[in-house]
Amino acid sequence: MSRPMTGPDSGSGSADRSAMELHAAEVVVRYPGSDRSALDGVSMAVPEGVLYAVLGPNGAGKSTLLRALLGLVPTSSGQALLGGRPAEDWAPRERARRVGVVPQKEDFPFPLTVRDLVSMGRYAHLGPLSAPTAGDRAAVADALECCDSSALTQRYVHTLSGGELQRVRIARALAQEPRTLVLDEPTASLDLRHEMEILHLMRGEADQGRTVLYTTHHLDLAARFADRMVLLDRGRVVAEGTPDEVLTADVVEKVFGWPVEVGTDPVTGTPRVTPLDRVRPPAPPQGE
């Protein structure tokens, strides 16, 4: 399968920032009717070709950060950049060729086959009246193959299991042949095997040069697979960096409001967060 490879020097010659595929600078997002900001001055940067995890408790602003970086929600101040350009300036069609997105959930009011769904990843590449070419069909077939879903092609999406549906939705994003993947809780409610399959898939894409950004609640697995991560709490960045830098006991304990111990996983050698019983006095209450 031919992939648009992104060389490490593709953004060379300009400032540091342009090598960042996704970049948030002091981003503030406030939803109408809400009294507090969903994002309150968030700065973070995702370098090209990196697998990057966004962590944080429920309501910390993880999904909102993704939406801001994609230009799907207006920023009240600060700037969200996609490929060095303000995220809100991207036309939808242009953006769809640059970034493949797997939203947290979607439902299907009409019967749709897997092939229909994955083919929608090609729409941004088609002219207004032109039919899909052999190249488009090959991209769909490659994406399905890549997500181990070729056997599902003729199935209706509403008959798929959670894990199968997730693979197919990722295949749709890959069919876009994007430089970057953005996934909102791609492994939520999946069992161990399906979760590992998706993480391996994302890791593989990053190893082939794609930038991959995702949100998750699984700290240990993020520590194991992600190159870099950001930890959000109530719309603010608590820590950003490598898993070793971000996942310290103090920080995790404070953000999640539960005592933990952070050790090293004997098998993988990456940070492992172990929640403790509440023997120590609990950390000061964190909101609700």
Partner: protein, 347 residues
């Protein structure tokens, strides 16, 4: 993992990469159905005319009376059925995609009712005649008013994407428009009341070439615009945010879709009155045959809607001949049971 041998073979055999080899046969079958429907409309009526005489008359042969019946009465009426039925089915399929709801339909949403108010008002005020090109525009104004009201009601009650809320909004707005029409009729004289009531229940009686021309003028361009929107509608059925990240200009597609589908509905209502459930029955049936891809669903809904209304009209004007039933009665008798079935599934 390699695809199963069978899967690979199917992929190779189907150039469109869609539902196997069935699709071309289905397209051909539905096209043929339309031709047969029009032909049947020419053969049957108060008097039956043998098929060879009909074909003769179409070529300018046969006797004067037969030519008059076939070319002057039945053919324009059959074409009117095709244009109105096709338009209503296409509008229904479009509203369903835009609202992500298989129950959406111009009649159920109150849009046909709004169009009827626009048309009745201009007719009783004597602003336009029944065979005017401006009548669909008056109906269009009413249809737009209906959409605005339906959405205002739905938004207050919890969002237009909720089936129950949307249906409730449609019912409320439809009831309001019924009351408005009742008011208009109460203030009108008796003969116009009877003709208005019959017109409102839907009828293709009185179709002549002028009116066919008027409806074609509105229906064909709008139908093409909607079919051009098929890909965006496919994406929109996944939700607005998903549609946007897959490359659809969501706001533009919604604006064009609602406006143009309303105009298409108004064109049908303007000349043929309120004909309900075509936009529900036909897209549903076609979806069962070819799936939900709007690139195929929209054109086939148009073809099938045309055939469906041609048959409904044939029934309407033959079962109690020489009198006629309102065509809306026939479509409702078919549509209501299906609506209930769908409702049970979506709640």
């Amino acid at each position: 993992m390699r695809p199963a041998a069978g899967g690979a073979a199917t992929e190779g055999a189907s150039p469109q990469g869609r539902h196997g080899a069935a699709s071309p046969a289905i397209v051909l079958g539905l096209g043929l159905l339309l031709v047969v429907s029009v032909l049947a409309s020419l053969l049957f009526g108060a008097v039956s005319i043998p098929v060879d005489q009909v074909l003769d008359a179409l070529r300018g042969g046969s006797d004067e009376t037969t030519r008059q019946i076939v070319n002057g009465l039945r053919l324009p009426r059959a074409l009117m059925a095709v244009l109105v039925g096709g338009g209503l089915a296409l509008a229904g399929a479009t509203f369903q995609a835009l609202l992500r709801n298989p129950l959406a339909e111009p009649y159920i949403l109150g849009i046909s009712g709004g169009a009827a108010v626009g048309a009745v008002l201009t007719l009783t005020l004597g602003l336009t005649s029944e065979a005017s090109w401006a009548l669909p525009l008056a109906a269009f104004a009413g249809a737009l008013l209906a959409i605005v009201l339906v959405f205002a009601v739905a938004r207050r009650a919890g969002g237009p994407l909720d089936v129950r809320v949307l249906l409730l909004a449609g019912v409320v707005v439809g009831a309001f428009f019924s009351a408005v029409i009742a008011l208009i009729l109460a203030l009108s004289d008796a003969p116009s009341v009877r003709s208005a009531v019959i017109w409102m229940m839907g009828s293709l009686a009185g179709s002549d070439w002028t009116r066919v021309g008027i409806v074609a003028l509105y229906t064909l361009p709008t139908a093409l615009v909607l079919m051009g929107l098929a890909r965006s509608l496919n994406l929109l059925s996944l939700g607005e945010e998903t549609a946007s990240v897959l490359g659809a200009d969501v706001e533009r597609a919604k604006r064009i879709g609602f406006l143009v589908a309303s105009l298409l509905t108004a064109a049908g209502v303007g000349v043929a009155g309120v004909i309900g459930f075509v936009g529900l029955v036909v897209p549903h049936g076609v979806r069962l045959l070819v799936g939900a891809d709007n690139r195929i669903l929209l054109p086939l809904s148009f073809l099938t809607g045309g055939a469906f209304l041609a048959w409904a009209d044939l029934v309407a004007r033959t079962v109690v001949a020489p009198a006629e039933l309102p065509i809306g009665v026939i479509t409702a008798f078919v549509g209501v049971p299906l609506f209930l079935l769908l409702l049970r599934r979506s709640l």
